[in-house]
Symmetry: C2
Subunit: 195 residues, 2 copies
């Protein structure tokens, strides 16, 4: 049963229309017919389709950078990895480096894609590329943040302590933390490869 | 710098209104004033506020259950852990057991909360409680799925292979996988505690 094979045909879309819309969001209603004949109404959000990046940046083998940023959804400040939307036409790794320069004030000479994750595929078609950034150098770009972000340098081996922080809850940051940790465990010489 | 302290006051909400609405979603616009005087318009989604659960259920120490389910956001079938919304007034652990019975056909005698994660706190106030379920017993409840879900029993130690599956991408399932793996590594005797 460990084999994972996608065998099923996606349901037929009988009807599709935008039922609500704002400056940022578009809500679409789908009338679906499943392969067993069952019909249902679903709703989903249409985003920009541009995708996003999240960056685990390490100034040295023992630390990575976090930012604390205002989040309107929860109306509080949350701790997480630097992230942002990809600009139209921009390569995801270029976007990762740009966001790093805007939010942390460093660029990276090495950018290693770890995994691309989905937000909540039941409702969104939003992909976020999680990237490990090494060989950092100082370079500040101006972003569109309303205020400077608080930066936190976190010890790599204090993973459990980070998971217990009440403001470190975003699932994509939790995934990025473990993905980076697993990559570093599998590649212990990754910091020796550079000048 | 490893200390994580929330010092900043959330921005002042100058104005707040619902700008778009559908059967499932409500989009709210916020006019905010940050502590530095900067003013911005933000949008966020208002959900049901009920929260959700995701369940890592293990029939034995070497396997856990996944389901493959149609996702309207991506219009394809995705592999992930069983999950669902908490019913009004329902306890999260009771909800976890109910979803397990509906989606997998098993109940659990032991439910261990691993972590509560946020979707994308910049836009949503949606909490998902990730729960480890042990000591399973057969019990089927009827859910509201339009078709039976495909069940997959995955070997616990084939974690990397799962992360490489093209349809295993949801950030919350990736987080749940690592959180369960870390819990089991820290608690190697967890399967010996029961009859």
């Amino acid at each position: 049963m460990a084999e994972s094979k996608q065998t099923k045909q996606a349901p037929e879309i009988l009807h599709q229309e935008v039922v609500a819309q704002s400056r940022l969001f578009k809500i679409e209603q789908l009338q679906l017919r499943f392969s067993n004949g069952e019909e249902r109404l679903y709703e989903r959000m249409r985003g920009t389709g541009r995708g996003a990046v999240m960056v685990v940046a390490m100034p040295d083998p023992e630390h990575f950078y976090l930012v604390r940023e205002y989040c309107a959804g929860t109306h509080d400040y949350q701790l997480g990895f630097p992230k942002g939307l990809i600009d139209p036409g921009e390569d995801p790794l270029v976007a990762a480096n740009r966001e790093l320069k805007e939010e942390i004030g460093f660029g990276a000479r090495r950018l290693i894609p770890l995994k691309s994750v989905a937000l909540a595929p039941g409702y969104f078609n939003a992909t976020m590329h999680i990237v490990l950034a090494l060989d950092l150098f100082p370079e500040q770009l101006t972003g569109d943040e309303p205020e400077p972000l608080e930066q936190v340098s976190w010890p790599r081996h204090h993973l459990d302590e980070l998971l217990q922080q009440v403001d470190f809850t975003e699932a994509r940051s939790v995934a990025a933390l473990f993905l980076a940790d697993a990559y570093l465990a599998r590649n212990p010489d990754v910091f020796e490869l550079t000048a």
